[in-house]
Amino acid sequence: MSRDGKIHIVVAETSPVISAGLSFCLCRLPGVQARAIEAHTYPELLDCLSSAHIDIVVVNPTFGGAFDPQQLRHDAGYDIRIVAVAVSQLPQQTLRLYDDAVSVVDDLPTIAAKIRALVDSGSETDTDREPLSQREKEIITLVVKGLTNKEIADRLFISVHTVMTHRRNIARKLEIHSATGLTIYAIVNRLVDLAEIKI
């Protein structure tokens, strides 16, 4: 996922009507934060891939005459997921070349689940629902009190490396990367006493 936490999708479809409809829907998938741009020709698709970091290409298999997913993977030069969008029934051997396929008659939750599965198949998991462990809460308290990683490690009898791993996981779960942000979290969730911290 990209810098703004959104999934970046290119819709590659010759018909502006279908492409606008697809990108409209992709930006409104339940539980998926996506940004879609439209490419109506193969050169436009390549421009999109080179000028923005793209996670997923949603493409009509007839795009640009006959669309070759392997060729696009090669031309892109980085890891992208390619999803076929079926306007009618597609042959199995065509679909095998794609990471997944959606149909224009699918409902939005179905499409959303597929898109989510594609970006989650990497390292990221469903972070929102993962609660903080007791240890992580303890570490937040110490960070907020102004202790360095070394001091936290000494206090908890763990290595600095472990402290850093915990901090990375905390940042990922809470989507908070700054000390000030953590302080706000800690106060609101009563992990610390106001008297214990200096603002």
């Binding site: 810098r3 421009d47 700054s178 609101v188 603002i199």
Partner: protein, 235 residues
Amino acid sequence: MESKYHYSPDEKMARLIADDYRLIQVMSRFGISVGFGDQTVREVCSASGVDCDTFLSVVNFVVDGYAHADAAAHVSVSSLLHYLKQSHAYFLDWLLPSIRRRLLDGIPMRTDSVSILILKFFDEYVAEVRTHMEYEDRTVFAYIESLPSPGAKPGFSIGTYSDHHEEVSSRLHELKSIIIKYGPGDADSNLLNAALYDIYRCEEELRSHCMVEDELLVPAIVRLEKETGSRETPQ
């Protein structure tokens, strides 16, 4: 051949704005003010001393969300630099201070530490953006301005200017989510909403600004460096 641009120089300027109001920002950063009547893009640009190709490259970039492969070839570097400097001034001198005022108005600043911390978070963020943009103004843009002459700073090339842009917009994303998840419940909702709307808009505009730098400026400079380099070799 089909026009490379979404909008052509013969389009009425007023139509661009009617189509996409974000283009008002683009226009004014190029130094074009309202009141141009029914003139075309070409006429308005020429009356305001703006390079029309550069203007349209930025306009089409903002509208389409990506840069056409040869867009950088049509760009006048000095016009684009002017535009980017004006953008910096807009963020630093206008938009960010106005968001801060709205936060101050919307969030009751008692001794309540969360309110104060939210403002602190914002101030830290603004300081980061300022450092980043001032670095660009002083180092990157100054380098680019010196480029055609051989007196360019040794050891610096546009490749050195790597992607600092990640943090610039992700921190704003964090601020938004902190206010929404942990903000004080007794804030004045109209004022706080106005601040949040501004933050959303600012995030969007910063993203677009950074993309113009990455996708129009950098390729244009890479070209220029190549040209300068090849001109110097035969000497």
